[in-house]
């Protein structure tokens, strides 16, 4: 694959965004292992966590190839620091309760489905390939989180309250999903990834439709948004997550099991 320096750097960053989102969310979901409300859901969340970590592995592996500095996907996952992670602030937010977990997951799943679907038409065949394989998994994730959201929102008074509370508190991390950044712009200009400007409209349409059905309201305060993850600004939760995720690889470099 022949790419000029600028495009190559942009592609590397873009792959980090895709990989980091899935790595961090996958890790968050893995924290439910042994703690989910019922054993069936424990297994479901574990499956989804593993899918996401698998997708992350594919994106980061390709990122390492593009970067061409002799690194591996593990180097990228375990030996980068907090400010070097490109994941959305949304996915690093703590589990708190099952409603938070499902709302966070639903926001991400809708976004992920739209992004991966558009990336399947990328002329970079590795990117298109990983995206189309991941899309299949994500379609199931979306079905899972959407069905839960409908049942929690339109369930009991308590489940509605908890879900609405999660939406109210996570809403401020949603605008960041669609902030266009230099990295994406370069790749769009070079024709390496499809133009995705309409993505946010589709996202809001889908969210609105589901929320209406789930009797959940979109928060009215629309000014207090948090962003900056693509430039290394994260919430206070990412550092703690990374400490736990990276400690083994950093304490025993090259450890195998």
């Amino acid at each position: 694959m022949k790419l000029d320096k600028k495009t190559k750097e942009a592609l590397f960053e873009f792959l980090l965004m895709l990989g980091d989102n899935r790595l961090i969310l996958g890790h968050r979901l893995s924290e439910w292992c042994g703690h989910a409300p019922i054993i069936e859901e424990d297994i479901a969340l574990g499956n989804i966590a593993l899918d996401l970590i698998g997708q992350s592995s594919a994106f980061l592996n390709f990122a390492a190839v593009v970067e061409d500095k002799g690194k591996t996907e593990d180097d990228l996952a375990y030996f980068r620091n907090e400010t070097e992670f490109k994941n959305l602030q949304l996915v690093e937010q703590p589990n708190i309760d099952f409603a938070y977990t499902i709302v966070r997951q639903y926001f991400f799943d809708v976004y992920s489905n739209l992004t991966l679907e558009s990336l399947t038409s990328s002329p970079i065949k590795e990117l298109a390939g990983i995206s189309s394989k991941s899309l299949k998994e994500n379609k199931y994730h979306l079905r899972h989180s959407k069905q839960w959201l409908l049942r929690l929102g339109d369930g009991t008074d308590t489940s509605n309250l908890k879900t609405q509370n999660a939406v109210d508190n996570l809403w401020r991390f949603t605008k960041e999903i669609f902030e266009h950044n230099e990295t994406e712009n370069i790749l769009i200009d070079k024709g390496k990834i499809p133009e995705t400007v309409n993505l946010s409209e589709q996202w809001y349409d889908l969210i609105n439709k589901t929320f209406e059905e789930a009797k959940i309201k979109i928060p009215e305060n629309n000014s207090d948004f948090s962003s900056g993850s693509r430039n290394g600004f994260h919430s206070e939760y990412l550092g703690h997550l990374l400490a736990e995720m990276q400690i083994l690889a950093r304490s025993y470099p090259g450890a195998k099991w």
Binding site: A44, N47, H144
Partner: protein, 97 residues
């Protein structure tokens, strides 16, 4: 959720997996779930995660009508001494393949 359910326990669903085209759906176990869609999802996550299935059935366990141990005598014993109901009982005439 129907009122019949115990508050802490969802409905029990029996899960049947078909592992190949034209093969039978075989009973593999059960899951708890509040409704059919969630039962199907739980069955998918618990019983098809290692590529075992091409089709899944879930059936509310209370929809299955089963014999009880007290039925065993009248139901099954009478067939024990009727070995002529097995095709192996009969000799195949010579020359027939």
């Amino acid at each position: 959720m129907s009122k019949k359910n115990n508050e802490s326990q969802w409905t029990l669903w029996e899960v049947f997996v078909q592992s190949e085209q034209d093969g039978p759906h075989v009973h593999v176990g059960s899951v708890h779930a509040p409704d059919a869609e969630m039962a199907l999802q739980n069955a998918r996550d618990v019983y098809s995660r290692r590529n075992e299935a091409i089709s899944l059935w879930v059936v509310p366990a209370n929809s299955i009508i089963a014999t009880t141990p007290s039925d065993n005598g009248p139901f099954f014993d009478p067939s024990r001494d009727k070995i002529y109901r097995h095709p192996q009982f009969y000799h195949v005439p010579k020359g027939l393949k």
